[in-house]
Symmetry: C2
Subunit: 160 residues, 2 copies
């Protein structure tokens, strides 16, 4: 399999409240309510025309301060190992993060957003409109369903 | 803004029925039922452990046969121009595609999937579990809502 490397120029960077990985809420079930700013390169501002009509955006960004890739990981919200492609762990062979944020407002080349889970100053690769494409009734969520059930069991108060 | 370029080694490639861009169903509302295979590099197969529990996956891949970026585009399902970041057009500053596919089965480092909209032999950057994260009732879909309404208007048969 011949796969030449690919090189990209980031379109901008993220401003978030998170200076340290340890302060970011972790795991697939984590609530991300923190606000931040996506700052695009000025010359790309025209590419944001009509973005304000969308309530939510996909942000593709780079885990630029991550260690070497690991193929089998134990996520923060589970006690069992899983293949890294079945998780959102940053230690991926290609360290790209995918986050859905809520768009709060736009000012030129800057987007104010809610729901950031990135380190401050992370490079941004792309922004796309979020469009729900999968009927939730047909969705299976793999090891997460079981993991969440185990957590709920533990969290349940003893019966009176 | 100092933004050094980033370089990635693709994790694999896609096998799809599409040899020409013109044969791929286009636009946000297009139905993608075509089946294909994601072939990972053999040495990454362990990263797929437990992937079979998920019904749907995000695939991040490269538009490797696209022209130069365009900031304002008129999508195939609309007649009006929009900023490229408010569309899924391939002519993006960083030409990464994001597609949700249904997982049909796994055979070692190969995943059989449904819903491919990529050219055959497109490089793959990442695979992530698809988790619906946004309540559909709070979702706004920007210019798409209006565009779809206009199409429906046009498609409506004359009243008897």
């Amino acid at each position: 399999m011949t796969l030449p490397p690919v090189t990209f120029d980031p379109i901008g960077l993220l401003h978030t409240p998170f200076q340290e990985t340890s302060t970011i809420p972790k795991g697939c079930g984590a609530e991300h309510q923190a606000e931040g700013v996506i700052e695009l390169r000025e010359e790309l501002a025209d590419g944001l025309q009509d973005i304000d009509g969308f309530s939510h955006l996909f942000v593709l960004w780079v885990f630029d301060r991550v260690g070497p890739p690991v193929l089998v990981v134990t996520p923060p919200n589970d006690t069992r190992p899983h293949g890294v492609f079945a998780t959102r762990a940053p230690v991926r062979p290609v360290p790209i993060g995918l986050t859905v944020v809520e768009l709060l407002g736009r000012d030129g080349a800057r987007l104010r957003v809610r729901g950031v889970d990135m380190l401050d100053k992370s490079p941004v690769l792309d922004i796309k409109p979020y469009l729900s494409s999968v009927d939730p009734t047909g969705l299976r969520r793999g090891w997460l369903t079981e993991s969440e059930a185990r957590h709920a069991e533990t969290a349940r108060p003893p019966q009176a």
